[in-house]
């Protein structure tokens, strides 16, 4: 069995994350893969460096899995996030969700990526043609219930 959550510098594989959600009762499986794009806000991106507070990032991914499995009955979720230098086209994050019914598989998967962007302590350092910049998003606060409600609203809408 693959681990349900991982923060790793090794390349990610969808099949590995899918194996972590295998099991009886599933009727629908969704996956989400985030890829490094070759441009961002008009800049030509050369590569990205992902820096993680690894032990807290692993805990945060586990928290997201727990939140989703509590919210969507019978769901099994796994999330692997990569760190270090990533080239264009490489996968930075892979989420897999298995549920009895398809609506839940889509909702839980969408919830997970929104929550990852809210609370998981991982930072992107973008190296583009002519410079570099740290990409900053949300202030990470796992206890912020308004943020969690936003993720739920986006997922279940």
């Amino acid at each position: 069995m693959s681990p349900a959550t991982a923060v790793t510098s090794a390349p990610l594989a969808v099949e590995t994350v899918l194996r972590a959600v295998e099991g009886p009762g599933a009727g629908a499986v969704t996956t989400f893969v985030g890829l490094v794009r070759d441009h961002n806000q008009g800049r030509r991106v050369l590569w990205l460096d992902y820096e993680a507070y690894a032990p807290l990032a692993e805990k945060a991914l586990g928290l997201i899995v727990d939140e989703a499995q509590a919210r969507w009955a019978g769901a099994r979720m796994a999330i692997h996030h990569r760190t270090g230098r990533l080239e264009i086209g490489e996968a930075s994050v892979v989420i897999a969700v298995a549920t009895p019914h398809r609506a839940d598989a889509f909702a839980a998967c969408r919830y997970a990526i929104e929550r990852i962007k809210q609370i998981v302590p991982i930072w992107k350092h973008e190296h583009f043609e002519g410079g570099e910049v740290w990409i900053e998003g949300a202030t990470a606060d796992a206890t912020d219930t308004a943020a969690r409600e936003t993720a739920l609203r986006i997922a279940c809408a």
């Binding site: 992107k124 900053e136 202030t139 796992a142």
Partner: protein, 87 residues
Amino acid sequence: MRVTVRLFARLRELVGAGDLVLEVDADATVADVWATLVAAHPAAEAYARSMSCAVNLEYARMTTAVSAGDEVAFLPPVSGGEARRGA
């Protein structure tokens, strides 16, 4: 007492270290640790309003009390996930 401070990403670069040990009072909170950090490294002040924090791998508040040997992490706004924010 001494606590370990962990810094990341641009905040780490501004301070010039990802790991440092700070001396704070025995009744210190996370806010006191932050104030001690900023006193020694004024550039950290840029994150005063946008950072969040964790103590010993638990998300914490500025009012959270810290103990000797604790690991206090200050987290700039995060950007995990895929390469671009969704539409």
